[in-house]
Structure formats: structure tokens, C-alpha cells
């Protein structure tokens, strides 16, 4: 199985060597981003800080029986203008990670550790009031299921004007005119801007949600399964739209999806999560053609092949662990076909390869490689993100 994937793709997994520091191209810093932004950066922004830097994020949910470790030590970086995909099966912590960035967790959710640095400003210790400055103005979101996220009795245009009015304090006339422009930009003609949500098709509603996310010219847009409820044709149109907006506006995107084909098409880098931890992270072309972590291999392998045998779909036996009491070592160990004794005892350290891939697995020895402790040098992996 291991060989098959590697051979099929004609790819070879490079040696695990530390990347020389001078080999990386520094991603755009806050100072450079300032130049093309419509609004000034937050006052506290550090000039030479990267766009987003998440370190060792731990988000737990309090239940009666204890804390559910939904996100447990996730680190990643997002460079300016980059698209990062969060992949993984249901309940692996993708959405919780994204919601933690905006601190929109349910009432029983808490960020118990780590940092979320936007322009070098740590958002985790911010109060609810202080977070209001960043929500939607710096980090906005395209919600899943556009029909439910739109108020049925308010015109789409007026709903898109809302963030402009509430967040930026624009008067009604200006914000409405801007909303019409935004709708035009996402491909909803001006004469349809006065429509009510039920008068629009599913694809148009999703476009409207994208327009709403773009309203305040945010630094980062999070797409939480933006194409899940749509048919394939509309899905392609929405992805094309996101792609175009990224090109034209230099949008930085975090795309949450369990659809790997969507990820492969839109994202520069992919972060594969399993049971609240990072399993593998790296450029899309590398991760999908030469998956290293046994979980990634299984995940890529379980994707149905159009030309393959349709009766036998590779599935991953077993179920994700209960995050109330996760296994002590590697969380994938109980389902892993390569599991070794060490896997059930020691948490695998994150190992970085020369092609920018980062893997947390005991299969790759750490003796002669740089161990990525908590992703302190994670942005380095963002730099050589050049899709083949």
C-alpha cells in the first residue's frame, strides 16, 4: 500500500532534512500588507510579523464528564494571499480550529492554551469587547448553509450592508451602494440585489454570503464548507469565484472541507487533522501525491477513483478516538496498520521534510532532523508553497 501510492504518483519521499534558513522566501509581512489595504492595520500590529501564526492551539469543550480536547496543540501559519485547506474527517477539529481564530466558540468551549497571532497581535487573551475590533473586519467567515445564515425577510443587499454599518459605522446610503457593488463583484447582477433570499438560487445565496464576508475588506476569510450543500456545477462556479477573488483581491483563505478534490483545486497548502492534532501539513501537490502520514495515505486512498474498481472503496477501519480520553501516544495508533509499540506510548513529534511537508508520525525518525516543537518556524513551511 505504501509503495503503491508512491509509485503510482511517481514521487519519491525526500530525506528528512532540516531546511536551511536562507532557502526560504520570507512571506509578506504586516508592513507590506498595509500598502494595499483599504483600511489601516490594527494599531498594535507588529510591522515585520506574518499575517497569521497559530501556535500550539488548545481548544477544549467542557462537558459534565470533563474536558473534550477538540483541538489539542495545533500549529500552523498562513501567509498573505495564500489558501490553506483544513482537511480531515468529521469531528476532527477543523471547524473548532477556525472558530477559535475568531473566538466564536459555543458557551462551553474555551481556548485553554496556545496563541493566535494576527499581524503579531495575540488574539487569545483579548476580551470579548476587544475581539469585536477583529471579528469580520480582520477575519470573516463564509458560513455553511447560506439559506439559514440569511434572514428571510430582509433584502440580500441590506444584509450585506449590515457589517459595513455595524463594524465600520458607514451611513445607510453608502453601505447599501457598496453592498450592491460587492454583489456585482461576486456575480449577482445589480437588478437582483433587491431580492429576498428565497428569490435567489442556492449558488447565488452562497455568492451573497461570500460578498458579505468580503464587505469589510478582511485580512483573512474562513470558508466553512462553503460548497457542501451545492451541486457539482454550482460548486465549481463558487470555487472559481473564490479563486478569482483571491487573484484580484489578494485574499488569504482558510478553507475547511472534507472534500479533498475541492482542496486540491483551490488550496496552496493543506493541513490534515486527525482527532484534534495535525497529522500532516504541506504543499497540496506534495501531500496528495506523496502522502507520508499513514492517516493521510488512508484518507487519500479512500477517495473514490473514477477509473478504479467501484465496488471496493478503501475505508479506514475503526472510528476516531473519544476525545474525552484520547489515547496517550499517537491518536491514530489504534487504527494504524503500521502501529509500533512506541506509537501507543509517546506522542509523535512533528518532523519537517526538505520539501516543506511536516508530519507527526513515528515512522519517520527524528534523530537527524530538526524537530518542529510547536511550530515556531511554521511560516517557513508556508514560503515554498508553489503548487506544481
Amino acid at each position: 500500500m505504501t509503495e503503491r501510492i508512491g509509485e503510482q504518483a511517481g514521487q519519491e519521499i525526500p530525506d528528512t532534512v532540516a531546511i536551511p534558513a536562507d532557502a526560504t522566501v520570507a512571506p509578506a509581512t504586516a508592513a507590506e500588507i498595509r500598502g494595499r489595504r483599504q483600511w489601516p492595520l490594527p494599531k498594535l500590529a507588529v510591522p515585520d510579523a506574518p499575517l497569521l501564526e497559530v501556535r500550539d492551539l488548545k481548544t477544549y469543550f467542557k462537558l459534565r464528564d470533563g474536558w473534550v480536547k477538540a483541538v489539542d496543540g495545533v500549529s500552523f501559519g498562513l501567509a498573505d494571499g495564500e489558501a490553506l485547506g483544513l482537511a480531515g474527517e468529521s469531528a476532527c477539529g477543523k471547524t473548532t480550529t477556525a472558530l477559535s481564530l475568531m473566538q466564536l466558540l459555543p458557551s462551553n468551549g474555551r481556548i485553554r492554551g496556545g496563541s493566535v497571532e494576527l499581524f503579531g497581535i495575540d488574539l487569545v487573551p483579548k476580551s470579548e469587547v476587544a475581539m469585536q475590533r477583529y471579528r469580520w473586519r480582520e477575519i470573516s467567515m463564509v458560513f455553511q448553509g447560506a439559506m439559514n445564515a440569511l434572514n428571510p425577510v430582509i433584502r440580500v443587499r441590506d444584509q450585506i450592508a449590515e457589517p459595513l454599518r455595524y463594524r465600520l459605522g458607514q451611513p445607510e446610503a453608502t453601505s447599501t451602494a457598496r453592498a450592491v457593488e460587492l454583489l456585482d463583484m461576486v456575480g449577482i447582477p445589480r437588478r437582483r440585489s433587491g431580492a429576498y433570499p428565497h428569490e435567489l438560487s442556492g449558488g447565488m445565496r452562497q455568492r451573497a454570503m461570500i460578498a458579505m464576508a468580503l464587505a469589510c475588506d478582511p485580512a483573512i476569510v474562513i470558508g466553512d464548507e462553503p460548497t457542501t450543500a451545492l451541486d457539482v456545477m454550482v460548486q465549481a462556479q463558487i470555487l472559481e469565484l473564490l479563486e478569482r477573488l483571491r487573484r484580484e483581491l489578494g485574499l488569504s483563505l482558510i478553507l475547511i472541507t472534507h472534500d479533498l478534490s475541492v482542496l486540491a483545486e483551490t488550496c496552496d497548502r493543506v493541513l490534515v487533522m486527525y482527532a484534534g492534532r495535525v497529522a500532516e501539513e504541506g504543499p497540496v501537490s506534495r501531500v496528495f501525491t506523496a502522502p507520508r502520514h499513514p492517516y493521510t495515505r488512508k484518507l487519500v486512498g479512500s477517495f473514490p477513483d473514477l477509473r478504479g474498481d467501484r465496488r471496493q472503496l478503501a475505508v479506514i477501519p475503526g472510528q476516531p478516538p473519544d476525545l474525552l480520553t484520547p489515547p496517550p501516544g499517537c491518536r491514530f495508533a489504534p487504527r494504524c496498520e503500521f502501529a509500533m509499540p512506541v506509537c501507543t506510548e509517546v506522542v509523535p513529534p512533528e518532523v519537517r521534510f526538505s520539501d516543506g511537508v511536516r508530519v507527526a508520525c513515528h515512522l519517520f525518525p527524528t534523530s537527524d532532523v530538526e524537530t518542529v516543537s510547536t511550530g515556531a518556524s511554521a511560516p517557513a513551511s508556508a514560503a515554498p508553497a508553489a503548487p506544481a
Partner: protein, 316 residues
């Protein structure tokens, strides 16, 4: 004119055009319902009588003037006959429409405003406030409306004084209005609260909160328009009940004898023994008016409920 101003102008004119189009399509849908149209026509007739009684029968003073003889049966000069003092019944009935409809309208306003306010706040804020507000509404729901009204009306009249005038309305009338409002807001509040509870769980409310709308904005801008259909239908049905309650309270002698509402007329008919004398024309005009108004309001209310309620089957 700059491009932005042009766009704003365009947005405004388009908003007006859409409003007209939506109103037009609603009117067409309403016109297709025979019961609603009949109810609306009867209602319009009474509304015209209530708004301009002077045009039809002369000012209020003429209603108290005896132009015929005691218990004159209907004739060419007195179409509805005359009462025990020889006053024209048609004149009294039309002036009665004014009083009855005014009381109905004011009581409905109080009911709907208080009911919507309590319902939306209790439903949206929830928690302890919800519990307190709902226990209060339980109190008013459990008490029989009529008994409460009979007790409250004389008490309030005693406190305020029967000759006082507030905002140009005689205190006794105001008391009836307040009593009807007090006894009927709880139902409206309950209905609206239950709808708000289901709306609160919808994602667009979360979204509104994320993009920066505070609780007040969410309640006014996002929740209120969504329960407007309930409020309108509830208002129309409350109006019917209010007219009926007013008639009943006046009939048992809690009304204002100087303001001839339909209930007052029925009250005087009863006290002079009109039924025993066979003077049906003393009873029929106000009684039929009450029945017609209540019926037409119910018809309009049901039609509106069907058209405005998104879940109803007859909506197209």
C-alpha cells in the same frame, strides 16, 4: 452627480418600485379570497361611518335630540325607529360605531404593542427575565378576562375619577381601553415568544451577532420583521375581541353613559324594557352591528393569517 450618488438614487427608486410591486401582488392574492374581501368591505363600511358620522346623520348633539316619539317603530323618517325618549336609532347606532371602533382600535394598539414587546424580549433574552415575564403573563392568562375586567373597571374609575379627561378622551373610556389591553396582551405575548424562541435558534441570528449587531438591533431588525405576520394577524383578531368586550362591559353598566357606544345602547334598551315592549328595533341595530364587526374582523384576520403565514398551505 457622482457615481455613488447615482447608485444610491437608483437603490432608492428601486426600493420604492419593489415595494409597489410586492404590495400589488399581495393585494391580488388577498382579492382572490372571497371571505377576506367580504370582511374587508363590511369593515370599510363601518370605518367610514365611524370616521365621519356627521356627514351621514349630523353631529353628536343630534343623537341626543328627540326627533320622534317614544318607541316609534321603523318608518320613512326614522329608518331604525326611535328609543324610549324618541331619539333616532340610526343616529345613535352610527355614533355608537365611532365610540366602539375607537375603543377597539386603542385597546388593540395597547395589546399588540405590549404583547409584542414582552414576547420578543422574553423570547430573545431568555433566562430569568423570560421566566419572570412569563409568570406574569400566566397570571393574566389564568384569570378569566371578563371577571378581571369587571373588577378592574370600577376600581380604576374610582381611582382616576369619572370626569377626568386624558388626552382628550374621557377617563371612563380610557379605563375600558386599559382593561381590555391588560386582559388580552398575555395571549399575544405567548404566541410571539414561541415564534421568537424558534427564530433565535436560526443561524441568521448568530450571523447577525458575529457581524456586530447588538441585542437591540437583532430584536428590532432581525426578529421583529420575522414575527410581523403574527403581529398583524393577532392585531386583527384582537380588534374583534376588543369590540366585543367593550360591548359586554358597557352592557353591564361599566361604560360611559355620555358616550353612546353599542354596548351603551343595548344597556339602555335592556333597562327600559325594550324587549318586553316588543321594540326589536331598539336592540337589533347595535347588536347586528357588533356581530357584523366581529365577524368581518375574524374573516379578515383569517385571510391575513393564511396569506402572511409562510407555513400555511394556501400561500402561493
Amino acid at each position: 452627480m457622482t457615481a455613488a450618488e447615482g447608485a444610491i438614487q437608483k437603490v432608492r427608486s428601486e426600493r420604492w418600485r419593489l415595494f409597489l410591486r410586492n404590495t400589488g401582488s399581495f393585494a391580488r392574492r388577498y382579492a382572490s379570497r372571497a371571505d377576506g374581501v367580504v370582511g374587508l368591505l363590511i369593515l370599510l363600511g363601518f370605518a367610514v361611518l365611524a370616521l365621519a358620522p356627521n356627514v351621514f346623520v349630523g353631529p353628536l348633539e343630534t343623537a341626543t335630540r328627540a326627533t320622534g316619539h317614544a318607541f316609534d317603530p321603523p318608518s320613512a323618517t326614522h329608518i331604525f325607529g326611535a328609543d324610549e325618549l324618541g331619539r333616532d336609532m340610526l343616529n345613535r347606532t352610527i355614533h355608537g360605531a365611532r365610540i366602539s371602533m375607537t375603543i377597539g382600535l386603542m385597546a388593540t394598539l395597547i395589546t399588540v404593542v405590549v404583547g409584542a414587546l414582552v414576547g420578543i424580549i422574553a423570547g430573545y433574552v431568555g433566562g430569568r427575565l423570560d421566566a419572570v415575564l412569563m409568570r406574569i403573563s400566566d397570571f393574566f392568562l389564568v384569570l378569566p378576562t371578563f371577571v378581571l375586567a369587571i373588577i378592574l373597571a370600577p376600581v380604576i374609575i374610582e381611582v382616576v375619577g369619572s370626569d377626568a379627561e386624558i388626552l382628550g378622551i374621557r377617563a371612563t373610556l380610557l379605563v375600558i381601553i386599559v382593561v381590555i389591553g391588560l386582559t388580552s396582551w398575555a395571549t399575544t405575548a405567548r404566541i410571539i415568544r414561541s415564534q421568537v424562541l424558534s427564530l433565535k435558534g436560526r443561524m441568521f441570528v448568530d450571523r447577525a451577532r458575529v457581524i456586530g449587531a447588538g441585542p437591540g438591533r437583532i430584536m428590532v431588525r432581525h426578529i421583529l420583521p420575522n414575527v410581523m405576520n403574527l403581529i398583524v394577524a393577532q392585531a386583527v383578531l384582537t380588534f374583534a375581541t376588543a369590540v366585543f368586550t367593550e360591548t359586554t362591559l358597557s352592557f353591564i353598566g361599566l361604560g360611559d353613559p355620555f358616550q353612546p357606544s353599542w354596548g351603551e345602547i343595548l344597556n339602555s334598551a335592556q333597562s327600559t324594557g325594550a324587549p318586553g315592549l316588543g321594540a326589536w328595533w331598539y336592540i337589533a341595530p347595535p347588536a347586528v352591528s357588533v356581530v357584523l364587526v366581529v365577524l368581518s374582523f375574524t374573516l379578515v384576520g383569517n385571510a391575513l393569517d393564511d396569506l402572511l403565514n409562510p407555513k400555511s398551505a394556501s400561500r402561493r
